[in-house]
């Protein structure tokens, strides 16, 4: 077993353990921390697959920005005052069984594929920033600029939704 395979199994175990931690934790703050573990493991997978650009973007955007937003909201909301009421045990069992059925069906459907044993080609330079940047700013420049409009509209939407209605009425915005 080479180093790559050991790293692959370690990162996979870390990702799955983190994901199970997210869905089984009582306190959402621990869920956020587990999710950061999952994102770090997925970034490790990107590095293993020689996709450095996406690894860095994943760390900055997900483990950095989005998780800070989640932490902020979790701390903003007082959960001790209103603890989560657990779902009915039958509903929980039904949810877990449904998810496991999905897992079994997908794995069984894909396990007989002929393309399963294709090894990955790692030395093509597909994930390097140099080539990705060139593609992004030539072929995909219009979607790239449109995404800035998307961000602007998301920002305005978040501000409008987050404002208190009283303030909006005072300023006659609604």
């Amino acid at each position: 077993m080479g180093t790559t395979q050991i790293l692959f199994w370690f990162l996979s175990a870390l990702a799955v353990a983190g994901a199970i931690g997210v869905i089984s934790c009582k306190n959402p703050l621990y869920g956020v921390l587990w999710l950061i573990v999952v994102f770090f493991a997925i970034s490790g997978h990107y590095v293993l697959m020689n996709a450095q650009f996406l690894a860095i973007v994943n760390l900055i955007v997900y483990a950095g920005a989005i998780m800070v937003l989640f932490t902020f909201v979790v701390m903003f909301i007082d959960l001790n005052e209103h603890p989560e009421i657990p779902k009915n045990i039958y509903l929980k069992a039904a949810g877990v069984i449904a998810a496991m059925c999905l897992l079994i069906v997908l794995v069984a459907a894909l396990s007989h594929s002929e393309a399963n044993h294709l090894a990955m080609r790692l030395n093509t330079g597909v994930g390097l920033i140099k080539y990705l940047g060139r593609t992004l700013f030539t072929e995909y420049v219009v979607p790239f600029e449109l995404s800035s409009v998307l961000f602007l509209s998301a920002m305005i939407g978040a501000v409008i939704i987050g404002k208190k209605e009283k303030e909006l009425k005072e300023k006659k915005l609604v």
Partner: protein, 108 residues
């Protein structure tokens, strides 16, 4: 590594996300499970971008599109999270709870 292990890993992460979204009632955790599902799909797309069907694809750089696609998924997810968390905060302010069953009242 063979591609099948990446498929199994992505499917496992996706199904854990589905299980969490179905079994939890805290809306923040449900939202985090949706992020988990998005990330498992991203992982699979990147894995497929590294897989070439022998010499069927003339130019291996054509696989770049997959990684650009992952990049755009991340952009859209960031915008989605900002709006979604604003909605959760507004819901908490109005109902003093983040239980998703409170959203039942939207039915009427």
């Amino acid at each position: 590594m063979e591609i099948k292990w990446y498929i199994v890993l992505s499917v496992a992460l996706f199904c854990i996300g589905v299980a969490g979204a179905l079994t939890r009632r805290n809306s923040i955790i449900v939202f985090m499970c949706i992020e988990l599902m998005l990330n498992s799909v991203n992982l699979l797309l990147v894995a497929f971008s590294k897989m070439h069907l022998g010499d069927a694809v003339a130019n291996p750089m054509a696989a770049m599109n997959a990684q650009i696609f992952v990049f755009f998924i991340m952009i859209v997810a960031a915008a989605e999270v900002s709006v979604g968390l604003a909605i959760i905060v507004m819901m908490y302010r109005n109902t003093k709870s983040i239980d998703i069953n409170f959203l039942n009242r939207l039915k009427n």
